[in-house]
């Protein structure tokens, strides 16, 4: 009996002591802003997915190295999904509730974006699709949780047509021309078709649609059709190995690379580096930035992380096109958190709902961007309830055989063409899903 009492007393004492010791530590440990990272570093799309993820993760590390978001540290966890939609959704489900809930999710896949669009309003996590996803999600009145920041595929296609029109001497000169779209046969690749058909109707050119099955390594028949039909221009909407295969097939069939224009996911170093001189003259859209090895932010990250062996991925890839894109995606989210803190409490942890408000009220003017180290990399971004994209600017860069060089002025996508399409498609979506679009008053809340 005495032994039992002794054991009980000892247990109570140990329990009490441990509580006393751990409680202050727990109280002292501030809540961290958790960033789920859906990535693909292996598989068919790994060569393109890895640099994006490196840039994204490096920026989060960099912010932590600088003290966090107004003192709130960032934590993150990667989940590899190999660009497979089912595995992407699985990764999202696994990470969404960790560490108090995700700040925002970037799926880097239009397929996963389609799958998550109905999930994120329930989980209250912003779905940031910087440069991909559903084009109609620009309308935040319907797509409250989607943020296609800096660009959609309708915007991309619009800018490409404007550029081609300019080269021809005016959009009216496109009448009778033939423009082929070689696209990844997936939701991603199909996304620009609606805009191209609208522009074709307006200007009288013909659109030739050429789907390429995943992963895009077999394109001989596609390029034989291009050789047969001799389009005036070829637009390339590929990803991963499909891009380099297209350029190689263009070379093999003698199609001039100068007449080829890739979307911004078809215009990075992995797409051209093993093609060599065969890719010389190939053009692609730059989602504002290109390869930016001399940007201040790149030099800061090199010095803060890579010089100390704390960087992610090869240091020679820091500042390359896809690295920059991942880094900018992270920066926009971090700025969304900062904006939310302005309203809900500086230096405090922000919930997904609060971050959503922050992303919807982003206002990054040039001075702010320059201060963040993005001078010369990108233009101002201002989002609103009706515009979750925030900026519709892009330019063209061209592969000169060894590096990407900007070869055009800035273009802004034509709001008069895109806005009616966005309103129509988002209206249809709202009707189908029985969503009541937010009113301007609701947007202010």
């Amino acid at each position: 009996m005495r032994i039992r009492k002794l054991a009980l007393a000892t247990s109570m004492a140990v329990l009490g002591l441990s509580t006393v010791l751990t409680a202050p530590a727990a109280l002292a440990q501030a809540k961290e802003q958790f960033f789920p990272v859906l990535s693909y570093r292996t598989g068919a799309y790994g060569p393109n997915g890895a640099p994006w993820a490196n840039g994204y993760v490096d920026y989060l590390k960099y912010i932590n190295a600088k003290g966090g978001i107004n003192g709130v540290k960032i934590s993150f966890e990667e989940c590899e999904f190999g660009y497979a939609t089912d595995r992407g959704v699985e990764c999202y489900e696994r990470l969404k509730s960790k560490h108090g809930g995700g700040t925002a999710v970037h799926p880097l896949s239009t397929g996963v974006t389609f799958a998550l669009t109905e999930k994120v309003p329930v989980d209250k996590i912003p779905l940031v699709t910087a440069g991909y996803g559903r084009s109609e999600s620009q309308n935040g009145a319907v797509f409250t949780w989607n943020f296609p920041l800096l660009g959609t595929y309708w915007m991309a296609a619009d800018v490409l047509i404007q550029h081609i029109g300019k080269k021809e001497g005016g959009l009216d000169k496109l009448k009778g021309k033939k423009i082929a779209l070689v696209y990844h046969d997936s939701p991603y690749g199909k996304e620009p078709i609606a805009l191209l058909q609208e522009r074709a109707r307006m200007h009288g050119f013909e659109v030739m649609l050429l789907p390429v099955a995943h992963p895009g390594v077999e394109q001989k028949a596609t390029w034989l059709q291009i050789r047969q039909n001799r389009p005036d221009y070829v637009l390339l909407w590929g990803w991963g190995v499909m891009n380099s295969t297209s350029i190689k097939e263009a070379q093999a069939t003698g199609y001039p690379r100068e007449k080829m224009y890739g979307v911004w996911w078809s215009g990075a170093e992995p797409d051209v580096k093993d093609v060599g001189d065969g890719a010389k003259g190939y053009n692609a859209l730059a989602k504002q930035h290109g390869a930016e090895p001399n940007a201040k932010i790149v030099k800061d990250i090199q010095a803060t992380l890579h010089a100390k062996g704390q960087g992610t991925g090869p240091k020679e890839e820091v500042g390359q096109v896809l690295y920059m894109r991942g880094m900018i995606a992270a920066m926009l989210t971090v700025e969304g958190v900062k904006k939310a803190q302005e309203r809900y409490g500086k230096g405090k942890w922000m919930s997904g709902e609060q971050v959503r408000w922050g992303l919807e009220n982003l206002n990054l003017d040039q001075k702010t961007l320059d201060g963040l180290g993005f001078a010369g990399v990108m233009r101002p971004v201002q989002t609103s309830c009706l515009d979750h994209m925030g900026s519709a600017w892009a330019r063209i860069h061209t592969w000169n055989g060894s590096k990407w060089e900007f070869t055009s002025d800035w273009y802004q996508a034509d709001e008069k063409v895109i806005r009616p399409m966005v309103m129509l498609a988002s209206g249809r979506y709202a009707e189908e899903k029985k969503i009541t679009p937010r009113t301007p008053e609701q947007c202010k809340q």
Binding site: R41, T42, G43, A44, G46, P47, A50, D185, L209, L210, P211, V212, A213, P215, G216, V217, E218, K220, A221, T222, L224, Q225, R227, Q228, G240, V241, S244, T245, K248, Q251, A252, T253, G254, P270, K273, D274, G278
Partner: protein
């Protein structure tokens, strides 16, 4: 007409490469009764080894001559593929003698995932270059016969010639050499072959080595065309309809089947594709193979299986 011929020739050249990979499937199936699902992964693994050693050797040894670096990388890659063959026999096949075909198939699935994972871990998962000096630009032929001539891709043409030479060499090896005869004996009946003193384990190692060399050659050709990256494993699996069509036990079947599939998928994509929205060539190859199976379940040249009741 010239466009039809271009498509046809393009299909035949692609088909020759399918034949080469299909031959890897057929060789292993004939000798061991194993449907080697890892053939695609072997192509990727071999190509990764070739690309990376061709890049590493000059840095390690200071070799400036790219031809020498490629030759040395090739020799090392062959040695690696032989080591893979030996390990597969030692660690997998030897323990599965007389097991069900499905068990052996599952084992090769495991080998496929293992090789894909280890290959990317050891050699990296980026896009790597194999530069064996293949010409990339096209050439125009028969310009006096057809308006505009016929465009031939020089790289595809040379690749098809190499594949044809290797296929021919393997067919001769199987038919004319003592080892080839031993391989065929093992394929016919394991127990009977063993009873006359043919060492089953050694034969399996040899056949996996040969399949490894075909994987390496296919990997070099495709790697030179597409860059060495993960998708090579899936490209090689496009030889699957070839073995369905040609029959799993027939070397001529792999050759003819490869050509039919190559031509069939290109013609279908070009002429039928636009009617149904395009992008049909991958699944059309399977449809073509299945249609053949309706009439010849054993494949074009496969052995007809007759069981006594």
């Amino acid at each position: 007409m010239s466009f039809f011929l271009e498509t046809l020739i393009g299909g035949l050249m692609a088909g020759m490469l399918y034949s080469l990979v299909a031959l890897g499937f057929v060789l292993i199936f004939k000798a061991s009764g194993v449907f080697n699902f890892a053939q695609g992964a072997m192509v990727l693994f071999a190509a990764l080894a070739m690309a990376r050693f061709a890049e590493w050797l000059p840095a390690w040894t200071g070799i400036g001559n790219p031809v020498l670096a490629n030759v040395m990388a090739f020799i090392i890659s062959v040695a690696i593929m032989f080591a893979v063959a030996w390990l597969v026999e030692r660690l997998v096949l030897r323990h599965l003698v007389n097991q069900e075909g499905a068990t052996l198939l599952m084992a090769t699935l495991g080998i496929a995932y293992f090789l894909e994972g280890v290959g990317q871990t050891v050699f990296g998962s980026d896009i790597y270059k194999i530069d064996v000096g293949m010409p990339k630009d096209p050439v125009m032929m028969l310009e006096s016969v057809f308006e505009g001539g016929i465009l031939i891709n020089k790289e595809d043409f040379i690749a098809a010639l190499i594949a044809a030479a290797l296929v021919g060499a393997l067919a001769l090896f199987f038919q004319k050499t003592p080892t080839g005869r031993a391989l065929r004996a093992v394929a016919d009946d394991h127990q009977a072959a063993q009873s006359i003193g043919i060492p089953l384990n050694r034969i399996w190692v040899i056949v996996w080595c040969v399949a490894g060399i075909t994987a390496l050659v296919a990997g070099i050709i495709w790697g030179s065309k597409l860059g060495v990256q993960f998708s090579l494993a899936t490209v090689a699996l496009r030889a699957l309809p070839v073995v369905i069509l040609g029959g799993l036990t027939s070397v001529p079947g792999a050759i003819i089947g490869g050509l039919i599939i190559g031509v069939g998928e290109k013609l279908s994509e070009v002429y039928l594709g636009p009617m149904v929205g395009g992008g049909i060539e991958i699944w059309f190859a399977y449809v073509l193979a299945l249609v053949f199976l309706l009439f010849r379940p054993q494949g074009l040249f496969g052995e007809k299986i007759i069981d006594r009741v």
